[in-house]
């Protein structure tokens, strides 16, 4: 417990330094675009694949479990849309990104730490925390919402394709269900969660990477801890955000 509190304190202190003014805005801008490419654009294939099949399975499950004749067919589209927008896209995709991006960030920074590259930055007079971590955090916070909107769209397409192939519902009723009782605040809720999750994933992964002791074994351990901690943080934050925003 004491160790956990110490880590939380250390994490807060790290964030304090990370959010200091960049040394040079031009360098920061370049680093930000690099990170958007590395963290965001490179995640498009896995997010696309996961989202398509996730939507397909949600639609199929809903269709195959609708036994009651009182439930109209368009419920399939309605449930697919609601579950995708409210939970599956922001939360499940963020958990997947915690694995992909979290391990990448922790191992990259951890390797820099163990090969003295971070010491080299510090000796030069560069604020290594801000230089390395701020563009990653900002890149994720800016680009994860784009990924999640992309994921929502592809999930709905996945649901449509699965229903079309299985013949469990028509395109018209599925689209009608998707459009029924649509509330734009659901999107705002999902994107708010995404921004928080993006921040947690990258900052937690950076924390474990930056405080890696030395050697390949420690880099591996840091990457594992980063993924586990970021995933737990997402689940806890999801619970509280759902309570705060929806209830």
């Amino acid at each position: 417990m004491l160790g956990l509190l110490q880590n939380i304190g250390k994490y807060m202190l790290m964030l304090w330094v990370v959010f200091s003014k960049p040394e040079k805005w031009g360098v920061f801008r370049r680093r930000l675009f690099d990170e958007i490419e590395l963290i965001g654009l490179n995640s498009i294939p896995i997010v696309g694949l996961m989202s398509f099949f996730m939507g397909a399975v949600i639609a199929l499950q809903t269709a195959s479990n609708m036994d009651s004749p009182w439930l109209p067919e368009y419920t399939i589209g309605y449930i697919t849309r609601s579950s995708t927008i409210l939970e599956f896209s922001p939360t499940i995709i963020s958990l997947i990104l915690a694995g992909k991006v979290g391990s990448n960030v922790a191992s990259e920074i951890g390797t820099m730490k163990s090969s003295e590259q971070i010491d080299a930055l510090e000796v030069m007079g560069v604020n290594s925390l801000s230089y390395l971590i701020l563009p990653k955090v900002m890149g994720a916070v800016f680009f994860f919402p784009v990924l999640i909107i992309f994921s929502m769209g592809l999930s709905l397409v996945g649901g449509w394709v699965s229903l079309l192939l299985s013949g469990l519902a028509s395109t018209e009723t599925y689209v009608y269900g998707i459009r029924s009782w649509f509330n734009f605040s659901d999107i705002t809720y999902a994107l708010t969660k995404t921004v928080v999750f993006a921040f947690l994933i990258v900052s937690i992964a950076s924390f474990y990477g930056y405080y890696t002791k030395s050697g390949a074994v420690d880099v591996g351990k840091s990457a594992t801890r980063a993924v586990v901690s970021a995933s737990i943080a997402i689940l806890i934050a999801n619970f509280f955000l759902t309570q705060m925003i929806l209830l």
């Binding site: 040394e23 040079k24 390797t111 090969s115 590259q117 000796v123 007079g125």
Partner: protein
């Protein structure tokens, strides 16, 4: 000049540095030698500010580095060039980008001026035309020379080299030693080199500090070390039978 006054550093119960006092003069190659675990690297990390000493003062040209705030320390650090044991080049950047890095971060030079400076530094370490290579494509000796080029890019007043010869063949090690010595004399830099390499000690040691069990055990120059009677330093320098034989010839 860098002056160390009563430097102490402990990690838990381990008292690593005990009252270290010394001066590293400008325009001289100052060596720190000692057995593994004797505290050399910790001392160097204290000097460059990667560790905070428990007590004592580190004076850069009479300015007390230990009591400075982060911004003042940054001013000093921008005058420091450091060559790390593993070179510490940035993997994702090319040779040119590595050497240009401090210029991009801390100067308002134009792209052409920065490129000219990079080419000058690479030429200085005999690596002209290797701009577009990545560190992973370079040999160990080349990586050390790139790291030296990066260290001198900002015209440093202080140069630190942590085991510059580790992992290099004897010929390349001599090239690196000569380069460090030339740069020190040419630009009148205060150079501090941590080394285990006895060849370096005898070739370039203008001032040698021998650290033993965290203490400042012995100080002298490359001539003194050949004639000293200090038993610990004799055990360290003349550890092999071959070196002992050389010593016996020297003392005859």
């Amino acid at each position: 000049m860098i002056e160390l006054v009563n430097i102490n550093k402990t990690f838990g119960d381990n008292h690593v540095l005990k009252n270290i006092n010394t001066k590293f003069e400008k325009g001289r190659v100052n060596l720190i030698i000692g057995q593994s675990g004797s505290g050399k690297s910790v001392l160097t990390k204290c000097i460059v500010g990667l560790h905070q000493p428990d007590t004592g003062e580190i004076l850069y040209d009479a300015r007390n580095f230990t009591t400075m705030d982060r911004r003042e320390k940054v001013d000093i650090r921008r005058k420091i060039g450091m060559l790390f044991q593993g070179s510490a080049l940035f993997d994702s950047l090319t040779v040119e980008e590595n050497v240009m890095f401090p210029l991009t971060m801390f100067t308002n030079m134009t792209k052409k001026e920065r490129l000219d400076r990079v080419n000058f530094c690479l030429d200085r370490v005999n690596l002209s035309g290797r701009n577009k290579l990545y560190p992973a494509e370079c040999s160990g000796g080349m990586q050390k020379r790139i790291a030296i080029a990066r260290a001198i890019a900002m015209n440093p007043e202080y140069l630190f080299c942590d085991e510059p010869n580790s992992g290099l063949d004897p010929q390349t090690a001599i090239v690196i030693d000569n380069l460090i010595q030339e740069l020190t004399y040419e630009y009148n830099i205060t150079t501090v080199v941590i080394t285990h390499d006895m060849n370096s000690v005898i070739e370039i040691g203008d001032h040698i500090l021998f650290i033993h069990q965290g203490n400042n055990w012995w100080e002298g120059n490359k001539k003194d070390i050949l004639t000293t009677d200090n038993q610990e330093i004799l055990d360290f320098v003349y550890a092999s039978d071959f070196m002992k034989e050389i010593r016996s010839h020297l003392t005859k």
